[in-house]
Symmetry: C2
Subunit: 577 residues, 2 copies
């Protein structure tokens, strides 16, 4: 490629709405252009990266035996009504009517369409297993699109759907995809981590997220450096504390804590460690029973130094549909404002549930259900009944790993892939069956597997950048090598050498671009450092006289002189096979 | 590829709604699957063809210096309001509101978005010319989707947009695209014809359509077999008839023609040639003048054997906004029902315009403006004023070519490409300017260039099929070669030879598929003939013993024995370089 035949458009400053580094750098490097909120044109430079990401994804999907097709962007509402997602999906689902007033959606994902295809195309167990995928434009009407390609509304996703005859076979298909994802993210050249994830409302038996590691990641991911354990924060289990509970040493005492509504403040006032305090979180569950609204109030107890895990709370029997109580509800039920609540001497009946780590506590501190007072010296069995316990909290660094093989660490990640065992979630609603060996209809067992193709670009940059710009891993860089001739338009020897080298590199299968725009060296170098091309070759008159070129890697601080005769081999050795 | 790892799904019968052969065969061959009216999933077999079409398109677009980007499917209404197309586009434009109630459209084309990009990205004449293209999903909410991929609602289009500094340079960019289209359609292996087209409402100075020739084509295209002249029916000019008008020989006579409202019937009754009759077509033009509706009635005269060209009619000064008059309007204005109208003795004033071919007539027959009567022996100058003439009719086979180099022929075509000189149609509305050498802002001169990627599939099949199924040109066939082993699952020699041959062909860059499904020969052959793979190699036990395989081209009636040792070279010789 020649820069004069390409379209390069760099900016000194990122627009004000670009809050994070990947968004800023993609805008500055001319990779994307904003069309509307969360909607971007992929400019030529950005599209090259997308195509390289897609090529790796396709290659590994095909190798794993998945078959590519292409499902439509605009999908009839009827299928989404069959699975109930037309009703449940909410405002993120972009709905549209055609000229006849019929309802359609702009697809955010394609479970319904692929299940519709499967129920007509898959007739016999002999056709199984099969895995279909497509790489297609998706739309999610995010409430607050931001961060460029990280949380856009229109985006490109690879989504695959496996169909199997039974759960055991489905798990095999799942593992094949899991392994393919490992290869894909490895080939991207990104540091990543697969983590166990919660199946959430979809149900089913297993799920993993693939996270690109980056300090700026939205998600906290949990792992054990000395074992294979890894999970996202929602799913990471807190191992039960096995130390026995110490015997009480203090009497239960109502202690004045005026104005100290937070555990941190109470602990400071009373000069005790934070982990000696217990915080109380109030939840409301409302149900219609015989036409009347039945309201339950739950009190969740956590150690003062721990945070509630809202997903885990929802798994406590009876709490599936909880919400946080309002301040007015709390005052009405407890007769005291939040900050002074506790499980002892409640005015009205509450369901008390304690986190696993609260049960082994003794002589602990909790709210006294009276403004400006806490109890100190509280003890289970003596001052209140033995607790009902669940795992309710987010794990913290240093917690024991649930596999017993070390302690947990926490890092930040950006979710770019998700694999899911769906089981019969969709096949049941849509009556997608096949005939088994006995000619009996059986529900198809499904898995689904997504990769956020355009999101990969944002994640890769969040992980790989410096003060000069983007530092692309070579496998997804827009170009592998840039040739920067010094005086291309006025020095015949330089021009000839540059033209010949470009031809030689292309011939050798190297994705090279020659900057023949006639920019001055400083501007030229700054452009390509911003764009993030991994390898740069400078062709100058002086070096040429000695048969030398200057090579510099994107993150190297100095150039290396390389013989003109050996430059192609030199570059090839620095590229993926 | 192995058939067992692919997804093959053929049908004996096409669904009832498939009216045309390409739709029937694509459904039967499992290339597409209907999701909704005019909305199809591209199944694995169909997607392979689409990808081959796209690859040829991209290759030639890149070679022509166009730069690929990707514009969004969902586009904000504001841009479409700037050009007025939000108002004018009508019901085909799929409109959608986001969660905040803002208006968007699902793009049928991207002039607005690319012009928006150009007006911010193109600052200087030094950046020109530039040509951007994308291959993207489009949506047009057709009133009556039908014919499978030929008139669908969701489809894939390649659209390119050139930007130039002046009209002369724009014409150069246009010619480059025209030439690229010639290469593209040649590489598809399809019989095609570029024809001059009408620019229509868009204005501008030039336009060509590219038609795939097929008897079933929707469009009549006009060409001169002995010259380069070619145009679509709308644009094909009728050369003026240069023969002098013969002198009158008959008196004007009101002649009874009871119940004969058509020229054909009148000619038969009076035993004269049809081209001696003149038909009258009544048009209405309504305009608001000073708040009042001014209604004009026009009478267009054509020879009885000719058809009105509605596009040409719209170009007559004063007729830009015409519509056909209703029967009630005709009765009111002429005092007689349609079928007996004519230019002589009209009750109320009408604007009379005659086609070029009507002016040289003498002793002609026309309606007498009285039910069941025509005039015979009508003559210009004597019975009515000399006519105002325009080219108003569709040309017919045998007409003189307007370039004077022969006579016109007509064939049927399917429009699959369109190139367009837009001029400043969009840049003016959207104020898309660049700075010229003198630092003065100038409007960008634009061209746009479309290829209906998915439509190509339908058109290719309409042109290339037989009783057995599709006959793909090799360059866009889903596979180039199919290997059909006889007893793959039970004959070790056959299996080994088939596996080795597949590996050898893939190694040689041949896109081959091995049918290892274990189907019986008859079913296997029928599947691949239906799917339309151009080359078939049968691997049988008997032949192998003599070192022979059986080759048969898709349209050959008998097989050829080929040496196993030479088979790869044999096949390579039959494939595009």
């Amino acid at each position: 490629m020649r820069a004069s035949r390409f379209f390069i458009s760099t900016l000194k400053e990122a627009p004000a709405d670009a809050e994070i580094v990947s968004h800023q750098l993609m805008m500055r490097a001319g990779m994307i252009k904003r069309l509307g909120s969360g909607i971007y044109t992929y400019m030529p430079m950005g599209l090259r990266v997308i195509r390289k990401v897609e090529a790796i994804v396709r290659d590994e999907m095909n190798r794993a035996g998945a078959v590519e097709l292409l499902m439509p962007v605009v999908q009839p509402a009827e299928l989404w009504q069959e699975t109930g997602r037309w009703q449940k999906y909410g405002a993120e689902l972009m709905r549209v009517k055609d000229r006849h007033g019929r309802d359609f959606i702009i697809q955010p994902t394609s479970e319904e369409v692929i299940t519709d295809i499967a129920r007509t195309e898959i007739k016999s167990y002999r056709q199984l297993p099969v895995n279909f995928y497509h790489v297609q434009t998706k739309f999610r009407d995010e409430r607050r699109p931001r961060f460029g390609l990280m949380r856009g509304r229109e985006f490109t996703m690879k989504d695959a759907y496996s169909f199997d005859r039974d759960a055991a076979s489905m798990k095999v298909s799942y593992q094949i995809m899991y392994d393919a994802y490992i290869r894909i993210f490895t080939r991207f050249g990104l540091e990543f981590r697969p983590v166990a994830a919660d199946n959430g409302a979809i149900g089913g038996s297993g799920s993993h997220e693939f996270h690109v590691i980056a300090d700026t990641g939205e998600d906290a991911i949990v792992y054990c450096p000395t074992s294979d354990y890894a999970a996202n924060m929602e799913a990471a289990e807190a191992a039960p504390i096995t130390l026995p509970r110490a015997a009480p040493t203090l009497a239960l005492t109502k202690t004045a804590t005026p104005g100290k509504a937070k555990c941190e403040d109470v602990a400071a006032l009373l000069a005790v460690p934070l982990n000696q305090t217990v915080k109380s979180i109030v939840l409301t569950v409302e149900k219609e029973v015989d036409g009347k609204l039945d309201k339950q109030v739950w009190l969740l107890l956590l150690r003062g130094d721990h945070d509630l895990n809202e997903v885990k709370a929802g798994k406590v029997p009876g709490l599936a549909d909880y919400r946080f109580s309002t301040e007015a509800e709390i005052v009405e039920w407890f007769g005291t404002p939040p900050g002074y609540l506790g499980p002892i001497n409640t005015v009205k009946p509450v369901h008390v549930v304690a986190d696993l780590s609260v049960a082994p506590m003794s002589d602990f501190i909790c709210g006294a259900n009276e403004a400006d007072f806490h109890f100190t010296g509280a003890n289970w069995g003596r001052d209140l009944p033995e607790p009902v316990t669940f795992d309710l909290r987010n794990v913290v660094a240093g917690d024991a790993s649930p596999d017993g093989k070390g302690v947990l660490a926490i890092q930040r990640g950006i979710e770019v892939g998700h694999v899911f065992q769906l089981g019969t979630r969709y096949s049941e609603d849509m009556k997608a069956t096949f005939l088994d060996e006995n000619g009996k209809p059986q529900l198809l067992q499904m898995g689904c597997y997504g990769i956020g193709v355009t999101r990969i670009l944002g994640a890769a940059i969040e992980q790989n950048f410096d003060a000069k710009g983007i530092v692309w891993p070579v496998s997804i860089a827009p170009f592998e090598v840039v040739l920067c001739p010094m005086g291309y338009d006025r020095n015949e020897a330089v021009k000839t050498a540059a033209d010949n080298l470009l031809a030689g590199l292309l011939e050798a299968g190297v994705d090279a671009i020659l900057d023949d725009r006639g920019e001055r060296p400083g501007a030229m170098f700054a452009d390509w450092e911003l764009i993030g091309v991994p390898h740069r070759i400078v062709i100058g008159d002086r070096g040429l006289k000695d048969g030398k070129l200057e090579y510099q890697g994107r993150q190297e601080t100095a150039a290396t002189a390389v013989d003109l005769t050996g430059i192609i081999a030199f570059i090839r050795a620095r590229l993926p096979a």
